[in-house]
């Protein structure tokens, strides 16, 4: 459960670090590192308001979204300690747990009957669908590379393989997981969380009707999801058999660097045109496919 606690710890500071990185880079004084937590505190103290046209789905969706992310957190190992839920092909379950949370948010957006939210839900569903092959091809590559199909086994044995390709797969994996995390959390270059025009929004327009406590739950889910992906990147970057104190320090450093990278990317990168987003996401699939082809060649799976 060390990994679970560390993910929660990282999630507390993740949005603050992103904000601070963006402020420093743009030369602003900007909000403090605890500002997102203060905003969350404010939202948690407010009541939710539900439209009379919405049903129970709208009321339960944020809770289900958060529950799905917490369950997914329990499937991420830390160092050589296996995850709380650990079984063969658990990465498929992990992916569909997150997808289930997203599915409920999408149908809750449709439940409001708002045209804007329907549009946002449509875009979110499309981009999530397009990023799915990249995630699965990458995990399939790692599974073939190590010969195991559960997160715990894959990450524990990743560095034991002693293959020349370890560094290639860890770099490609880290790059792809950063991009997948950005897409899954609706950040740059796919979406801009700070935009004020509904027509250009994706995730923000989908949760326009949520407020108070429910909105706080959605934000918490997003922060936790970032920390979960950061944890996957950490597992891919650090051998599992290192000293535990070193592992904890490296976990914190990697999560911090991950948040700073997101802040820098959001500062220096322009948002994609909406029509360019599918190309961008498919590029990730193509890159992960190259990694897959290499693993097919080095393991001699086809002959």
């Amino acid at each position: 459960m060390k990994g679970f606690a560390l993910i929660i710890f990282a999630a507390l500071f993740f949005p603050g670090v992103i904000l601070r990185a963006k402020s420093i880079v743009s030369g602003r004084k900007g909000p403090g590192i605890f500002q997102p937590l203060k905003d969350l505190n404010l939202l948690f103290r407010k009541d939710s308001v539900f439209s009379s046209t919405s049903s129970i789905i709208f009321q339960i969706a944020p809770t289900i979204g958060l529950a799905s992310v917490i369950c997914a957190m329990l499937m991420i190992p830390f160092a050589d300690e296996p995850a709380f839920f650990n079984f063969d092909s658990d990465f498929v379950y992990f992916s569909y747990l997150l997808a289930a949370g997203k599915f409920f948010l999408i149908i809750s957006a449709l439940d409001t009957g708002s045209g804007f939210e329907g549009m946002g839900a449509n875009r979110e569903a499309l981009f999530s669908m397009l990023v799915e092959p990249a995630f699965f091809i990458l995990l399939a590559t790692l599974a073939m590379f190590t010969g195991y199909t559960s997160f715990s086994d894959i990450f524990t044995r990743f560095y034991i393989t002693q293959s020349d390709f370890v560094l290639i797969f860890s770099i490609l994996g880290a790059y792809l997981f950063i991009q997948i995390a950005m897409i899954e959390n609706s950040r740059f270059p796919i979406d801009d969380p700070k935009t004020h025009l509904e027509l250009t929004m994706i995730h923000e327009v989908m949760i326009l009707d949520n407020c108070g406590f429910d909105k706080a739950l959605i934000h918490v889910s997003s922060y936790l999801k970032f920390a979960v992906y950061g944890s996957i990147i950490y597992n891919l970057s650090v051998p599992a058999d290192w000293n535990i104190y070193l592992q904890i320090s490296l976990f914190v450093i990697i999560q911090f660097v991950f948040a700073v990278i997101i802040g820098l990317l959001e500062s220096f990168r322009a948002r994609n045109k909406m029509g360019k987003n599918p190309h961008f996401i498919l590029t990730l699939t193509a890159v992960s496919f190259i990694a897959f082809v290499i693993i097919i060649i080095i393991t001699g799976k086809i002959a």
Binding site: D164, F165, L167, I168, L172, K276, P278, H279, F280, L282, T283, T285, A286, V287, F289, I290, A291, V293, I294, I296, I297, I302, A303
Partner: protein, 204 residues
């Protein structure tokens, strides 16, 4: 080292398929030139030192510096900065590229033998298909030129795949380089159809 360079080369092909600005094409071709230079140095250990020096310096000079520079000059002199609007969408082009990668690996395994490096052969087929896809899906003649340069890089990788056993093939690849240099010089030096409309309509 070769493994890293090969993967990087394959990734540049993916980005070539989706980019729309010719300046980025020129930059990616330059990067490919430098990657091929690295692959040449690390792979051709059985050829004579003279051949190795000639091939590696030619790769670095032509592919890494001269060709990207010439393309950049052509872009500046013709003011054609982006691919035509009616070009096939990058999304579908990328789908074709992914399918071509799948076909490449099957073709490479069909031709598998102890004398040919399968990774090189796969990437060479992949590069060849990518060059062909760029040529048939784009309308501007500069795009066709870039597609041809990608094809030419694929021939070079083919030659490296069998280079230690058949060094003559590398010289043929080098000859193709020089031919491309002359082609671009003709295109650039003679100011062949600098007008955008003519560039659009000039297909053959």
């Amino acid at each position: 080292m070769t493994n890293y360079l090969t993967v990087m080369f394959a990734i540049t092909i993916v980005y070539l398929a989706i980019t729309e600005r010719f300046a980025v094409y020129a930059r990616l071709l330059g990067i490919q030139g430098f990657i091929l230079f690295g692959i040449t140095l690390s792979e051709l250990h059985k050829v004579s030192i003279g051949d190795l020096l000639f091939v590696s310096s030619e790769t670095l000079f032509f592919k890494g510096i001269v060709v990207p520079y010439m393309i950049t000059r052509i872009i500046k002199s013709t003011n054609v900065v982006k691919v035509a609007n009616d070009t096939l969408s990058g999304f579908y082009e990328l789908l074709f590229i992914i399918i071509s990668l799948l076909i490449s690996i099957f073709m490479a395994y069909t031709l598998k033998n102890p004398y040919i490096n399968t990774v090189f052969l796969t990437i060479a087929f992949f590069t060849m298909f990518s060059g062909l896809i760029i040529i048939v899906t784009h309308r501007l003649i500069i795009s066709h030129l870039i597609g041809f340069l990608v094809l030419e890089n694929s021939v070079f990788i083919f030659s490296i795949a069998v280079g230690n056993e058949m060094p003559m093939l590398i010289n043929i690849g080098t000859l193709l380089d020089i031919f491309v240099g002359v082609l671009i010089l003709g295109f650039f030096g003679m100011k062949l159809k600098p007008n955008i409309d003519e560039l659009t309509t000039l297909k053959d």
